[in-house]
């Protein structure tokens, strides 16, 4: 079964599959697939970029939702704690956050292992570190979006939930969350596009994403303009595809609002 799926995916590969862009137009050139060119390496980079963004999205959304819940709670201390989180991670450059998470986790794990008596060098997974850093940044921005969405939902909705005898978390799940998603969606769409661009930073800590793969190709082949141009083009295409896709999602979310 998995063999069938992998065969299906490689057949539908938009870059290096049988009907892929690079295989159709790039054969014989620098971006040919296989040993002759850099097509398959770049296609791998595209896959890594998309995987990283898609893996970060749910984590960032969940953390962002929790932070937004904390930021709009009635408890002062909880609001303060959430405020510190968003202030720090919205104020730091994404690149610096990435380095702090990457080296900080390495030092932390090393210290923990050293206390157990293990004394070797620890290399942390770049994908995981990138995901953690991007999720932290994404969540601090998305919490702001969700917070303003929370404020747009009138109190009466909570009171109606109470009047119906729903428990608090059922009110949240059945009444508030569907409205929250609809209100927050445009802001979250923007944040997704920003996340897609921010994945390029992980190339600095050595993860083989689009920019790193094209960078290697540029250095080896001495065709920097061509390859970095391709990198920009690929990011552009990803952004276009996601804005078309998110347009569908937005229409789907708005379907209950009726035609105006």
């Amino acid at each position: 079964m998995s063999g069938f799926f992998s065969a299906l995916f490689s057949a539908l590969d938009p870059l290096c599959g049988p009907v892929g862009l690079f295989s159709l137009f790039g054969s014989g050139s620098l971006v040919a697939c296989g040993e002759a060119g850099w097509g398959d390496e770049i296609a791998f980079g595209v896959k890594v970029t998309i995987t990283l963004a898609l893996a970060t999205l749910p984590v960032g959304l969940v953390i962002g939702f929790l932070i937004a819940l904390a930021a709009q709670s009635e408890d002062k201390l909880l609001r303060l704690a959430a405020g510190i989180y968003t202030t720090i991670f919205r104020g730091l450059p994404e690149l610096l956050t990435l380095f702090i998470v990457y080296y900080g986790m390495q030092i932390l794990i090393q210290a923990v292992l050293a206390s157990f008596g293990y004394d070797g060098r620890v290399e942390i997974n770049a994908f995981f570190a990138g995901m953690a850093a991007l999720a932290v940044v994404f969540s601090s921005y998305s919490s702001e979006v969700m917070l303003s969405a929370f404020r747009a939902i009138p109190r009466g909705q909570y009171e109606a939930g109470d009047a119906l005898g729903l428990r608090r978390w059922r009110t949240m799940l059945l009444v508030i969350l569907p409205q929250l998603i609809r209100i927050a969606l445009p802001g979250l769409t923007n944040l997704w596009l920003i996340l897609l661009k921010d994945t390029s930073y992980v190339s600095v800590i050595g993860l083989a994403d689009i920019l790193r793969q094209t960078g290697i190709a540029a250095r080896v082949s001495k065709e920097a303009f061509f390859f970095y141009g391709i990198a920009c083009l690929l990011y552009l295409i990803l952004a276009m595809i996601s804005s078309v896709g998110l347009g569908f999602v937005e229409r789907w979310a708005k379907r209950s609002e009726g035609h105006r």
Partner: protein
């Protein structure tokens, strides 16, 4: 005739209920304790790892990096503002070709990463060295600092053009008509009526854009510009001391927070006639 002879004596208020410890409060305390622990660990790390020698060696470099970052961002914000005006007007013009070009510019620069743009300009244009030398532009594209400035300017121009366009279009139609009814020429109407109102709308997004640019400017460190991030990377590569990143974090947070508060103050000051 009957009336009440004796008033009912006032009753004592109900006893205050002991407020139970809400889960929200517990969560707040726990998270705050975590933050405090992190802050103490940070302070401990800095005091414990304090090294006069490193401070002497890297302190001035950090300040120099800070100055590089600030000058880079300041210059690119100003140059970007200059460049954004024609783009915004092209975007609002009725000429289809002009509109399409401006739209394409904005779309491309807003949906590709700044890092890729920087690489394209610094490494990519570097491969056209003979051509650039023949036009006499090589001195510009040879320097990483100029390339950083160039790409930051192009990038922020795209964002600022959208801010400017949105702000100008947010001014209601009646304002144009009112100015026309007063006999103001188009130019004067724009200068004296439309633009002041538009810039007030644009104030907050401009502040956000400057903050984003300060954060974005850290990428120039990767093409060997010694800005704050570059000096940090240099210090870390020499000392392998994790503190170098923490100092950079403190510097960046300080700049961004100072700018945010300054901007909030400016905005409150400039919009005080709009408060009701």
């Amino acid at each position: 005739m009957s009336y009440v002879r004796e008033l009912i004596p006032p009753r004592a208020p109900p006893a205050l209920l002991e407020k139970p410890l809400a889960p929200a409060r517990i969560a707040g305390i726990v998270v705050l304790v975590v933050w405090a622990a992190l802050a103490i660990a940070l302070a401990f790390m800095m005091i414990n790892g304090w090294d006069e020698d490193k401070f002497q060696r890297y302190g001035p470099r950090y300040l120099h990096g800070l100055w590089t970052t600030i000058s880079l961002v300041g210059l690119s914000v100003i140059l970007g503002a200059v460049l954004s005006a024609p783009i915004a007007f092209a975007r609002m013009s009725r000429n289809k070709a002009l509109n399409a070009i401006a739209y394409a510019y904005v779309y491309v620069f807003r949906s590709t990463p700044l890092l890729a743009q920087l690489f394209l300009i610094y490494y990519g244009l570097g491969s056209f060295r003979p051509q650039l030398e023949s036009v006499g532009l090589w001195w510009f594209f040879r320097e990483a600092w100029y390339c950083g400035l160039f790409s930051l300017t192009l990038n922020t121009a795209a964002y600022q053009a959208e801010i400017l366009r949105g702000a100008i279009e947010s001014v209601p139609r009646g304002q144009h008509e009112g100015a026309a009814a007063l006999g103001l020429s188009k130019r004067n109407a724009f200068r004296k009526v439309i633009l002041p109102q538009a810039l007030i709308v644009a104030l907050r997004p401009y502040g956000n854009e400057i903050v984003l640019l300060i954060k974005g400017s850290a990428v120039v460190a990767i093409v060997t510009v010694y800005d704050l991030m570059g000096e940090t990377r240099y210090a870390f590569s020499r000392t392998f001391d994790y503190q170098s990143y923490l100092w950079a974090a403190i510097f960046y947070l300080a700049i961004v927070e100072a700018l945010r508060h300054l901007w909030a103050f400016i905005e409150a000051r400039l919009t005080r006639h709009l408060k009701r």
